[in-house]
């Protein structure tokens, strides 16, 4: 009985569509990139957890530091200057990041 079906070996294979390899490899590269991003996220999360854990341990060991009361008097302008400089640098950072992304 099995001999009669051996003829099925002659059944022609379906032809692979054009560009199959390229499309498949694109999907595989995307999957590889996603896997890389997940790994990076995991490393960053673990590193952050370690840092937070370390800080929590230090604080519990040494106690919370006393924050001195700010004397606004003469030093008010100094704090305004520091605040303005921080905002300026943050704005510059955002602008440069936007320019860099456009260039890419």
């Amino acid at each position: 009985m099995s001999d009669k079906l051996q003829i099925l070996k002659r059944l022609p294979r379906e032809e692979l569509p054009c560009g199959f390899r390229a499309r498949t490899m694109r999907r595989i590269e995307a999957a590889s990139a996603r896997r890389g991003e997940r790994l990076e996220m995991l490393v960053v999360t673990l590193a952050s957890a370690v840092i937070v854990g370390l800080v929590a341990w230090l604080l519990s060991r040494n106690g919370f530091p006393k924050v001195p009361k700010i004397e606004w008097g003469a030093s008010a302008m100094f704090f305004v200057y520091i605040g303005a400089l921080s905002l300026l640098l943050l704005g510059g950072d955002c602008l440069l990041r936007r320019i860099y992304r456009k260039e890419i």
Binding site: L5, I7, R10, R13, E14, P17, R21
Partner: protein
């Protein structure tokens, strides 16, 4: 000089994604053809065949080399195609619409006996349920052993043999070759 599957699997695991392309070249045609004949639709088969290779790439870490890479890949192809037929409730339509539209009698009087028999068998094959069709294709056209088919389908060896015997009988009855 072409290397064996183990080499390309090793290189892919080491991070050389392009090495997997060699495996796509090597097995793309066979996987596509098998999936296309199981689901009975060429467009869907291409997407499913791509899914097979993407799944193989993503899960390459779990390939333990207890069987050959091709057997493992065929297992993914089997699961992907059969799941698709179950999910989408495909009715096993023949790939060539002529088979469905025209009467089969037209071919009986044309061409050598073997060609006519092959056409009748192909038509009969397309009427089988997807999992039975897949078993026949794996055994005869892909020339997988019973052991490999058992590994691919998750069935036991005796179960594969019994199913193949039953399907053979069914096909021969359908084509009128049963004596």
């Amino acid at each position: 000089m072409p290397h064996d599957d183990k080499y390309y699997v090793g290189r892919t695991r080491a991070g050389a994604v392009e090495a997997f392309g060699e495996l796509v070249d090597r097995y793309g045609g066979r996987v596509y053809s098998l999936v296309a004949r199981i689901v009975g639709n060429r467009e869907e088969a291409e997407e499913l065949a791509q899914d097979v290779f993407v799944k193989a790439f993503v899960h390459l870490g779990s390939f333990r080399e207890q069987c050959s890479f091709s057997t493992w890949l065929y297992r993914i192809a089997w699961n992907t195609a059969i799941s698709a037929t179950r999910r989408r409730r495909l009715r096993g339509l023949p790939l060539d619409e002529k088979l469905a539209d025209e009467g089969q009698d037209e071919w009986f009087d044309e061409g050598p006996d073997d060609d006519r028999r092959l056409e009748r068998l192909d038509a009969a094959l397309s009427t089988l349920p997807p999992d039975e069709r897949a078993l026949v294709l794996l055994f005869y056209t892909e020339e997988r052993s019973v052991e490999e088919i058992a590994a691919i389908t998750g069935l036991s060896r005796p179960n594969v043999k019994t199913k193949l015997h039953r399907i053979r009988k069914k096909l021969l009855i359908l084509t009128g070759d049963e004596r």
